[in-house]
Amino acid sequence: METLAGAAAAASTLELLQLSPPGWGANLLQGLWNSILIACGAFALGLGLGTLGAFGKLYGGLITRDLLAIYTTVVRAVPELVLILILYYAVTDAVNQTLIAVGYGRIQISGLAAGIAVLGVVQGAYATEVLRGAIQAVPAGQIEAARAMGMPPALLARRVTLPLMLSNALPGLANLWLIATKDTALLAVVGFGELTQQTRQAAGATKAYFTFFIAAGMLYLILSIGSGWLFAKAEHRARRGLPEVRG
């Protein structure tokens, strides 16, 4: 009898997932959209920082290399949650200080921009290591041949190193993308309205904790399984024409 009542209660809470106002579905989807935006932005920023960092670590001077080593070590040793708080306060503070120095008033930095900046810096450290390993796995002869032909460094990177390393880098980058989507949940702690935060609000307001948290879990799961499938296709495409690697 009790299980029957429980099942009925669970079925009635499913209505709370409807899109229109008595239901909270629209809030969840809005949160999912915010999460995807932040993950995309952070991943792109991380890729940019990672590419610079990888080339710096491989071809940079002594000081560049040491500074990059400090960056990657510190970011990978301190919890993302702590880094998010430090960078969140520090970035907001720094922007406001400069604005005041230039003569403008304070501004409130949007959660979206701060989230992208913070997670991007974290992603950059991991991407540096992934891309460095991938570049090192490019056959040295290819790069030497391009140098011998007198190819300038930027062209060499664009035409030879980056395309050749892509197949090596993609598994690591896929992993990083999944970490990016999951790390967006941490922004819930600083109160940004991404999926996890929206879910907690909806669940807190309706007391239907299981319904909402499981629904959000399914959204995350669809996102990660879907993007895993896309990355597998991309890797297959990047590997075309290369000998098959057996791990």
Partner: protein
Amino acid sequence: MRNFWLPHRIVMAALGVAVLIWCVLTLRWDWLPNYLGLAAMGIWRTIWLLVLSLVLGMMLAIPLGLAQAAGPRWLAWPARGFCTVIRGTPLLLQLWLLYYGLGSLFPTIPWIRQSDLWPILRQAWPYGLLALTLSFAGYEGEVMRGAFRGVVKGQIEAATAMGMPRLTLLRRIWLPQALHRALPTLGGETVLQLKATPLVATITVVDIYAVAGRVRQDTFITYEPLLLLAVVYMAITGIIVLLFRHFERRLPSRVA
């Protein structure tokens, strides 16, 4: 080690020391003595959560990996499903699902409230420990699957040919070699697990991260506790890395 102290490194180290001295002299540290006891408690709780979730998670991960690598399909599929769900959703969501979900369900069931376990279940840390353990088990189940698969087949065939019982085979041959293969990965995963522990502060467990938050609330000092917190985590990470390096060195490096 002789090549470490190049001229530019000496300059960088000097700059680092200068920044450190500047931090000590100009930032506010007067709150520190009042919170030392709480901080020690917090560090202790962080380490204790970390170690317990590592041990329990590993005990779950070994059967999970074994089921996926060699189990029958009705065992392999649920194990793979568990790993996919854990790895595909954020830990924070899992933690809140367990804490708010189970935490609101349990008080409505009379026999749980009357049981001896209720004083424990009323606190927050069992849910934090459970979430951390399940998360570690999910990630390590995947690692152990690869490690079990990676053990050379001839080893297992030789043991079977000698008539070794299956449990002894697992205990003497398969598991030790799989663990040996997984050890470098496990070191990295342990650091990741340490970095996951501050999430339990969001469900009111007072670990070292929560202590820093309390200092910020009480005194309105923002940067100093956070900087110190980062240093504490870096120190714990350093200890973990050294420990695993020690373990790896003690094991013979060649897999025969």
